[in-house]
Symmetry: C2
Subunit: 247 residues, 2 copies
């Protein structure tokens, strides 16, 4: 028996999110079936990040245990033969059997993409949030700086999450503009439910001039969801990667 | 009666190409219906470039005649209310009633995008051609130079086209690499049927080392379709824009 570590990329548009559901097509469900058919075992993968419907990933992580004789590095090739075009395994390797993708310390990187122009572009309809009015990226950058560091992000969390603490550490939050695309890139040691989308929604309010960047520290300190911006749409969000400190 | 000029962008994935067909969904068909419903007239647009199934556009051009009182510049906004997310009008304006988008002199720009890495990326599955083996971009650039200028491109044309002459002028052919994406950008005064996709397919052969860049002048001079590379898949092709010299 060995534990296999997968790096999984997907376009979340056509899925009801990561997590297995009895009556809906999910990334986890499709992966379970591909791994089970390949190995002839009944396998349930364990995912690192249970992304919401419509959210994308370049490098989510999943592990599973198998007695299969397939070499660990070959699972990526073999699984891609069985997966649809919108789910692709980017790498596979063996990990210690004690490694658990949600319990080990890690750093996650997310990107939130905004398309900021007069008319939307069809190419980005599923992978960016379209925003009509010109956004002030400089103001967004000043606001972004206030999120970096360890804070209680209780105000940046949707209801329904069961967590011991709402304190999280953001290591960096950068905003880049390339032509009409604005990309918010955030790294941290874990994120609350919808936290990146609420940060993105808040930064968009700043970009629109509806919220002053100087007010962000007070918005964070209030721990009041109503003081932060709206939850930005799922389509703009992409889990770029997860870096494990051990394992 | 006035003639309206539209700049139309679309993701061609879900369409059977531009041209109207009785039993298939096409860009032209969807545009005709949107314009007709908006104006209350029975309108058929005239398109500049009848792109194939799966080919995309940032700026294809279409015109139509109308008695509508809607100001020319407002058609873009009004049509986008009626169009699906994968077809977006980027601009509208009035043109001279003698202007015909296929009969007026113009310069067209196309891009062909190749995703060149070990595993495909779900995000680009419909907008780039996935190529596994590392391509030699320097060799592709040397080959590209041979296409520039006026040539008889009879060998770079699929059967079925009815044209007076197969001579065309390519003004520029540039190849850029950004991370795993290779973009072939070509400008010229018109292209034969499948010409850009056959040029792309030929350059990919060069990038793979299957065809020496020094042989390209002889391949062009042969006017023999069999000597050129395969027709690269539609999904990688995008009509970037059309610049009219008058009108």
């Amino acid at each position: 028996m060995k534990r296999i570590f997968l790096v999984v990329s997907y376009d979340g548009t056509n899925y009801h999110g990561w997590q297995l559901q009895p009556a809906a097509v999910t990334i986890e469900g499709v992966l379970n079936r591909a791994v089970s058919e390949l190995t002839g075992e009944e396998i349930q993968v364990i995912g690192a990040s249970r992304t919401d419907a419509g959210v994308h990933a370049l490098g989510n992580v999943a592990v599973f245990d198998t007695d299969s004789k397939i070499p660990a590095e070959k699972f990526s090739y073999a699984l891609n033969q069985r997966l649809p075009e919108d789910i692709v395994v980017q790498a596979s390797r063996e990990v210690d059997r004690t490694f658990h993708p949600r319990r080990c310390e890690c750093r996650k990187t997310y990107e939130y993409t905004i398309l900021n122009r007069t008319f939307p572009l069809p190419e980005y309809r599923n992978t960016a949030y379209f925003c009509y009015g010109a956004l002030d990226v400089e103001a967004m950058r000043r606001a972004a700086a206030a999120f970096v560091g360890e804070h209680d992000f209780a105000g940046f969390c949707s209801a329904g999450a069961q967590v011991k603490t709402t304190v999280r550490r953001i290591d960096s939050l950068e905003i880049k503009r390339r032509d009409d695309l604005i990309c918010i890139r955030v790294q941290g040691n874990g994120f609350l439910y919808n936290m990146v989308r609420i940060i993105a929604g808040t930064l968009i309010e700043v970009g629109k001039g509806a919220l002053a960047p100087e007010k962000i520290p007070a918005v964070i300190a209030s721990c009041d969801r109503a003081k932060a911006g709206p939850t930005a749409p799922a389509r703009g969000l992409k889990l770029i990667g997860i870096e494990y400190l051990q394992g």
